[in-house]
């Protein structure tokens, strides 16, 4: 990547010797007053300067740091809550600064928006300038090519005019854009006759050209190549802008949703049936595609021996789905890294866990609960899972259970631990409550949390149950039986219309980057003049100062090729002059 602004020591743009923040031809307002328009102009110029771009880049990097260190609302709301409880004084201050949602915060948006404004403010004029330079010719060849960073000289037998012609052909065959002197100028050194302005010719006296004084033009060829570099540069920066637009597109028209699905059950992609739904700004629930997914089976296998015992080996979920209500049922296998694509949305397998099954009978002998209740494992190892069972239909008093599910239970010094993630020895431990769950009125409750303030604990210690065992509650309150377990998967459903544009812009940015690094803008000049040895040909060249490639290699081979072309032309001149032979071309190097 190169500077979007022109470098100061760039020999290519000597007409615009800018310093950061100031442009020529605009020395300031006449009269000394500085109105609003001038302030705006000053601000714009500052914004589009390289220095400010650098500062904004630093700010962007710095601003991202708290977004990675503190828990963020979007990805870890529970962590944010935890931070509030553990840092009661600091957390509200950080919240005020927007540090729990850094990447959505206005100050972060301000940084990247300013950066992109600066980018656009640089890129657009550069595009105009590129278009302009594509039309203008390369500059005339300097008089003394030996002062250039790369130069060479040799003698040849052809006349200067022919030498220039041959050189033009060789350079043009390499894709250079050429400039030749106008044929009439050769005889008329009119410009130099003006005594006032150009008192002496620019540059050093003719040290190596061997031409006589006063011959201003001579025979020369000026060649330039490598405009693609600027194209690549501009493409890169514009593509970054495209990525930003794509991200915005996704934020407006995309959505994300979560659903926990127990084995044997189905869900439909409708707002009522999703656990979480995060629509983009312009998305409503009506935009959700109407597909349905059933989880037929889920299998997780784990490494059973060796140093990595307990590490997951593979997950796979067998599902069936319909793309629309009443449509044909298809089956598929869902895995990590292998989402289901349906109706424009994608369904991902994110995680899994256990849902123990219970059967609860209340004091009146009625079966008031009979099914699976998902438990959540969190970060504890080996899928030790926690959950609650709220039996709101129990009479006369509602019942509630808080429990721990241990897939492979082993008694370690009196505490129950899970030593393997597979359910080889499933045990459930329950604490029973009776009273008012608080579910008959008030705000909605999470299915995974129980509020025991209106309840009394029935059992003093947690009771352990194996599959098939029952717990009889005291005072005839009822019984609860641990009947078995199911597995559940957590699915993420996403739709992002900005995804493909972002990818295309990303690849375009990469392409532009490579182009701007690999292609160099370079100029090659050839001057042919008469000398005691016949004709002396001088070749000179230069590339932009911060080039990353090896212009020297290219120049060396070009010089060699020119020389051999001239030698070939000299040989061919043994042939009658009516049929001049074309010099040998070396295609490719």
């Amino acid at each position: 990547m190169t500077d979007v602004r022109v470098s100061e020591t760039d020999p290519f743009e000597s007409a615009v010797p800018e310093r950061d923040g100031r442009r020529p031809g605009n020395p300031g307002p006449a009269g000394g007053s500085f109105g609003t328009a001038d302030w705006l102009k000053w601000a714009w110029r500052q914004l589009t300067s390289m220095r400010i771009a650098l500062v904004l880049l630093f700010l962007l990097a710095l601003g991202s740091v708290p977004g990675s260190m503190l828990p963020q609302e979007g990805t870890d709301p529970a962590g944010v809550q935890q931070y509030f409880t553990s840092h009661p004084a600091l957390a509200p201050l950080l919240n005020h600064l927007g540090l729990f949602d850094v990447f959505g915060a206005p100050w972060f948006a301000a940084i990247y928006l300013l950066l992109f404004a600066s980018l656009v403010g640089c890129v657009v004029p550069r595009t105009f300038r590129l278009a302009g330079s594509a039309r203008t010719l390369p500059p005339r060849a300097p008089r003394n090519l030996a002062r250039l960073p790369a130069s060479a000289g040799y003698a040849t037998a052809v006349s200067p005019a022919q030498a220039a012609e041959v050189a033009a052909r060789v350079l043009s065959s390499h894709g250079f854009r050429l400039r030749r002197p106008a044929p009439t100028v050769l005889a008329e050194p009119t410009v130099l006759a003006e005594p006032t302005v150009l008192a002496e010719p620019t540059g050093a006296p003719d040290s190596g050209s061997g031409s006589g004084p006063g011959e201003l033009e001579g025979h020369w060829v000026s060649a330039e190549k490598g405009y693609l570099r600027e194209v690549g540069n501009l493409l890169f920066h514009l593509a970054l802008l495209g990525v930003l637009v794509s991200v915005a597109l996704g934020g407006l028209f995309g959505y994300k949703a979560d659903r926990l699905l127990v084995q044997g059950t189905s869900f439909a992609d409708t707002q009522t049936d999703l656990d979480e739904f995060y629509p983009g700004r312009l998305v409503t629930a009506a935009d959700l595609p109407p597909f349905t997914v059933t989880l037929n089976t889920f299998e997780a296998s784990y490494i059973s021996s060796g140093a990595q015992r307990g590490q997951p080996n593979s997950f796979d979920a067998q599902i069936s789905y319909t793309a629309s209500s009443g449509g044909p049922v298809r089956t598929d296998r869902l895995e990590v890294n292998r989402p289901l694509s349906v109706d424009g949305a994608k369904v991902y397998l994110i995680g899994h866990g256990y849902a123990p099954e219970f059967k609860v009978t209340d004091a009146r002998g009625q079966v008031v609960f009979d099914g699976a209740q998902p438990f959540i494992s969190g970060t504890t190892g080996n899928f030790l899972s926690q959950g609650v069972l709220k039996v709101s239909g129990a009479q006369p008093e509602q019942l509630g259970f808080s429990g721990v599910f241990v897939p492979t239970a082993v008694d370690v010094d009196g505490t129950l631990e899970s030593v393997f993630p597979a359910a080889d020895n499933p045990v459930v431990s329950l604490i029973a409550y009776a009273g008012n769950l608080g579910m008959n009125s008030g705000p909605s409750q999470s299915v995974y949390q129980m509020d025991t303030t209106g309840m009394k604990q029935l059992t003093a210690a947690p009771q352990l149950l194996r599959v098939g065992q029952s717990l009889k509650l005291p005072d005839g309150q009822g019984t609860v039986t641990f009947t078995g377990y199911q597995q559940w998967v957590s699915l993420a459903i996403t739709h992002d219309p900005g995804q493909l544009p972002a990818l295309i812009c990303g690849m375009a940015a990469l392409g532009g980057l490579l182009l701007s690094f690999v292609v160099r803008r370079r100029r090659v000049f050839v001057r042919a003049s008469t000398s005691p040895e016949g004709t002396t040909v001088h070749v000179g060249g230069l590339a932009r100062t911060d080039a990353s490639g090896s212009f020297e290699d290219e120049f060396a081979s070009l010089a060699a090729e020119l020389r051999s072309a001239h030698q070939q032309a000299a040989q061919d001149q043994g042939v009658p002059p009516s049929a001049p032979a074309a010099p040998n071309r070396h295609e490719g190097e």
Binding site: T270, A286, P290, T294, V360, G393
Partner: protein
């Protein structure tokens, strides 16, 4: 290069104009998107945006469905043709559903003799809990289970059902005439039923 400052100024003007018009366009689009759409064919009930009536001629057709009731028998919606139906989406795990349950039971009793039918759709639930719910709140009207959410899906395509509870009032021609998104109150439900069935609450009882 004497032309350069003039053309540069002109270019800058062009860019500025383009940027301003793009900005204006963007703002217009965003405002239009955010503002949402105000439909004239929907009237609010009691000033609440969650309870609405659909004007005649703008009522979506209620999709047909069939399912198994909590009692275990088959039920088809087509059997309710010609009657006003109150369709309530609920679940025993859902706190606002529990809050409105007594209201629904009461209004159901009120309008039973007028021929208004109440029907429940039990969502994301298990049979034992659902039956316990009906016992607790004295719900005597039937409910079909919706294990794959197919019924919910079909209805969501015609009315914006956002969650449970949702109550829909379907007129005699099988069109959805009114809806309450969220838990319903006695005044809201009776107002809608009065409009749709043509019988006010007190009339319904006295008939």
């Amino acid at each position: 290069m004497t032309r350069a400052p003039v053309t540069r100024a002109r270019r800058r003007a062009v860019v500025l104009v383009a940027a301003v018009s793009a900005g204006v366009l963007l703002i217009v689009v965003l405002v239009a998107g955010w503002a949402g759409s105000g439909k004239s064919d929907v009237t609010e009930v009691d000033g609440s945006t969650s309870a609405v009536l659909y004007a005649a001629g703008h009522r979506p057709v209620a999709p047909g469905f069939s399912g198994t009731t909590l009692a275990g028998s088959r039920l088809s919606f087509s059997s309710y043709r010609g009657r006003v139906v109150v369709l309530n989406f609920w679940g025993s795990w859902c706190v606002p559903c529990r809050a409105e349950a007594s209201t629904l039971a009461a209004v159901a009793a009120l309008y039973r003799s007028s021929g208004v039918a109440f029907l429940g759709v039990d969502v994301r639930d298990t049979t034992a809990s659902a039956l316990a719910f009906t016992r607790t709140f004295g719900i005597t009207y039937p409910s079909v289970t919706d294990p794959s959410s197919a019924i919910t899906l079909d209805f969501t395509s015609v009315v914006p059902i956002a969650g449970t509870p949702t109550t829909l009032v379907i007129d005699r021609t099988g069109h959805i005439a009114g809806a309450v998104f969220g838990s319903t109150t006695y005044p809201e439900l009776t107002t809608i039923l009065a409009k749709v069935s043509g019988k006010a609450a007190d009339e319904a009882v006295s008939r």
